[in-house]
């Protein structure tokens, strides 16, 4: 901490807002942004020049449409190399972009760390820094108390068990090295490591679930004109928010509304129908629809069950894993419409398929429940054991990554002193969550497990 490694944090207030700004500071800030940013027109990021483009994840998938700018040291707030990304304001979008930046080598900033760096580099004066430090100190005290509170319950048990597995494996690897002649009983370290890795995954999955319960998600309704998007929006809201007419192209701009679906706070976004058009106003609306789709946590793609098969393929063109296919106007067909059967053939890759009719409340309820189920993801086994603090999730992800390296090492029979380094890294990351100190506990673990000594 507090070195020239590169830190990242969201600079704007959390919650629903049109835009959010993500900041990076440190030696690698420019390189890290360059690694995740695809400018619309080719060319490098140059200091103080705003560039338009997309953030893409490790698999090359678009995450969000953004504006990016880099600042060169010392001409920045922290007087270090900095970068800023302005993205859409959905919490999940911000989280995804930060995840990309973390994966590219940034570290989640400590509270107040940007200001601290600014101060240490002589950019801001003492009074201002001290004011910030007071807040930091208070916040860290409160954060610690909160973390302890959280760790007293199921989460603490889950992490404690995970750490215990790792400590056992680490003690073994270390004892082999430090006491080569003490007859340390053999242990298959792969076993506890695999158990710990699986436990970490359960916690991470649970964290995503918990995050959405707390922070909600952005659900974008899209489809061809007149597919029934606005009708579905109104039906889900329980009141008329959007104007509904039998004419295609009634909705020309995106419309946002907040809904509580099964206890889950959602932002529902109605969009202009996507179709070839010569009308410049409609074209602008369609452009916005694409933007909305890019920032969606869940895409609800509506297809007129009585319409053309081509519409079905269009609906799956975005990101099938994030897409719920909704076949509308099902009441207009005497039996199950053929398109519904066809749609079911596509699930997976898409996240789900439902058939609805505005006139059949049961189908609407099924649709609402499909939306909440997909948004929440599978709840974790460890009921209540959920990491909701982003820094804790970052730490657990790093622990999981270190464990992956250790497990690869076990597979290729890497020597115990090197395995110990990777397992140590994993425990160190966990300790950022629990506040424990691996180095204090390691020797205790060795001497309590193995009979050692001359």
């Amino acid at each position: 901490m507090l070195t020239s490694d590169t830190i990242v944090a969201v600079a704007t207030a959390p919650g629903a807002a049109a835009l959010a700004v993500i900041r990076l500071s440190g030696d690698a800030a420019h390189a890290i942004v360059a690694a995740v940013f695809r400018p619309r027109r080719a060319g490098r990021l140059r200091p103080m020049r705003l560039r338009y483009g997309w953030v893409v994840d490790g698999h090359g998938a678009l995450v969000d449409e953004v504006l990016a700018v880099v600042m060169r040291a010392p001409h920045s707030y922290t007087a270090e190399d900095m970068a800023e990304i302005s993205c859409h304001g959905g919490t999940l979008v911000v989280q995804r972009i930060i995840a990309c930046l973390l994966a590219a080598g940034a570290r989640a900033a400590q509270p107040g760390e940007f200001t601290l760096r600014a101060f240490l580099n002589g950019r801001i004066d003492l009074t201002r820094a001290e004011a910030v430090m007071d807040v930091v100190a208070a916040r860290s005290e409160r954060a610690l108390a909160l973390a302890h509170q959280q760790l007293r319950g199921a989460l603490g048990d889950a992490i404690g068990q995970l750490r215990e597995e790792l400590l056992g494996a680490l003690a073994y690897c270390t004892a082999l090295v430090d006491f080569p002649e003490d007859g340390v009983d053999a242990l298959e370290v792969g076993e506890p490591l695999r158990r710990a890795r699986a436990a970490a995954q359960r916690l991470l999955d649970g964290a995503a679930h918990a995050m959405r319960v707390r922070e909600g998600a952005r659900v974008v309704l899209c489809g061809r004109p007149n597919a029934g998007k606005s009708s579905l929006l109104n039906a889900l809201l329980g009141h008329d928010r959007a104007i509904v007419t039998p004419y295609a192209g009634t909705t020309r701009d995106t419309i946002e509304a907040h809904a509580d679906l099964g206890g889950l706070a959602l932002t529902l976004v109605d969009t202009a129908g996507i179709a070839p058009t010569d009308d410049p106003i409609e074209a602008l609306g369609i452009e916005r629809s694409h933007q909305a789709i890019a920032s969606a946590d869940l895409i609800v793609a509506l297809v007129d069950a009585t319409g053309a098969v081509a519409a079905l393929h269009e609906a799956l063109a975005h990101d099938p894993a994030r897409t719920l296919l909704v076949l509308t106007k099902c009441d207009r067909w005497p039996e199950t419409p053929p398109l519904v059967a066809l749609a079911h053939a596509h699930a997976p890759p898409c996240a789900g398929v439902v058939a609805v009719s505005i006139h059949q409340p049961a189908t609407l309820a099924a649709c609402a429940s499909a939306i909440t189920t997909i948004v929440l993801g599978a709840p974790a086994d460890d009921a209540g054991a959920a990491l909701t603090r982003p820094r804790h999730r970052d730490a657990l992800r790093r622990a999981a990554a270190a464990l992956d390296v250790a497990l690869a090492g076990v597979a290729e029979h890497r020597s115990p002193d090197l395995l110990a380094l990777d397992i140590h890294d994993a425990v160190l990351a966990l300790d950022e969550i629990t506040g424990a100190h691996v180095d204090d506990d390691l020797l205790a673990a060795i001497f309590s497990r193995f009979c050692i000594g001359k």
Partner: protein
Amino acid sequence: MSTPRSTTPYDVIVVGAGHAGCEAAHAAARLGCRTLLITIDLDRLAHMSCNPSIGGPAKGHLVREIDALGGLMGRITDQTFIQIRLLNESKGPAVQALRAQADKRLYAAAMKRALEHTPGLDLRQALVERIVPLQPADGSPARFAVITHTGRRYDGRALVLTTGTFLRGRAVTGEAVWAAGRAGEAPADALAGDLAGLGFPLIRLKTGTPPRIDARTIDFSLCEPQDGSPTPCYFGHYAPYGPAEPPEPWIAGAPSPVYPVAAMPAWRPQLPCFLIHTTDAFHEIVRRNLHRAPLFTGVIEGVGPRYCPSIEDKIVRFQDKPAHGMFLEPEGWHTTEVYVQGCNTSLPEDVQWAMLRSIPALQRVELMRSGYAIEYDAIAAGELTATLAARRLDGLFLAGQINGTTGYEEAAAQGLLAGINAACWLQRRAPLILRRDEAYLGVLVDDLVTKALHEPYRMFTSRAEHRLLLRHDTADLRLAPHAARLGLIDPQHAARVEQRRAALGRVRAALEQQRIYPSAAVNARLRERGIAELLHETTAALLLRRPDVCYADVRSLTELPDEAPHIIAQAETEARYGGYLERQEREVARTQRMEQHPVPDDLDVARIAGLRLEARQVLARVRPRTVGQASRLAGVNPADIAVLLVAIRRHEQQRAAARATAPEPGP
């Protein structure tokens, strides 16, 4: 009471001539200080009061570092060992370490000779009764008077205390308790009182030693021999610079015929050690006599080390373990006295006899000395600075078990550093402070300064977070520049180390630069050598990272320099560690800024606003030298460090402002 006064004060007085004291006195004298070494028994200099072995993981690393800094332990071990082995050979090169069995009496004799040949060093046999701090007065720069049991007084400008287990030492075997510094030697009780009087907080520690048995009563046919190394290895940095230290003539002859020696290695005669195991009967005897074990009856109060448990402790705590291994280690080339490693105990003497005789190989065994536990005073943590100087008293340095450590190597390493820094302090030179990424000695001292001790401190490889950088094959490369700057090694040796570094640099550069293409010719040659073919273009360095590839293989494919085997071995080691080494180097670079950020001496941490109470107390107690050191303290979190950094900056600004407005000195 009047005491005879010595004529001229010494520069440095070292009290205690164990492993710490000998190195301290030698280093101080070597750096030009007129030095006095006082010990209770001149025949037991650097005495090995516990096992006759030196080295092992982390400890062996320390010995290599002592040698690289011009200390004695490595060289004297090389002259007097009766066996040496490379441990952890099958594990990574970073944790490989040498361990030797030394001839105990010969080691003391060789150490005495080395000290007698050190110019400027006087040796005296006496029990030091009192230490009196003096005010440096006109005419005499002495800060300390040391008074012996015969009433003689020596004055010194600096004092190094290396009193080992002698401070209020108390030995225990079963029901028998007697005052002792080591078995058979008187403790220093008055001295402990003096230290307490000076305000040093003392803690009570405990350690133990096993019985010694007579080799003539061991059935070696029932033991498993463990032979020494068939190939040459030494603690000293002779190779590749010159010939190794020859063994003492004593060892060149035949050893005691009582030990069965299957094959004597040609490079150096050696004795085996012997592995035996405890039996059910042994465990039963121990369990039946626990009510007489001082450890369990409360006779012993001191805190013993967890890594050196007594045999009674092991049997109680690990009940499901059917047998414990024990090594029989000859205490010398000619003596029949044998150390029973793994059997340290304070059970009554009759129980020690009975339990050992329950082991088949020891059915007729005779005990020459019984095992005992020893309790002693050590100075509590928080009293030391990173130079091993006492915070409480200028000119006083502390090293070895008095600082709460255990082990000959830990003691010797501290003694060396204390001797060097006492000399530097007197000569107003920059002290030697080693970083954690630079030496095990740096880790050791940093731990002593920052950590609270709960048991005697022993070095482990796992204590060194940058251990890949602290390999035993790099001790000279890491430390020779310091040693040369201070004048601890001669310039020719320093120049040879630099040549070695340059050669290694050439090999590294060539490995990075040379590219190898998957041509038919290259792949054919790889196949010939039984190595998987290349699919893509690569560098020589990356090819060498493959576990089945050696330097000669790569050199057969591309142009690489032909260097000495030790250079090539080192390049291969670096390649094998590849990514791990780079990762540790990055971590070191990352923390460097913090490590180099000093905490001003006159900063009052108790008055920093915004610091949590716990952090404030810890910082006030330990007084870290750098922000990096502060960040390692238990009870100090990252937010505290942020607050500390702000306070330091403000402090610096205020000081600068004060200087700017201070009146100019008058004419």
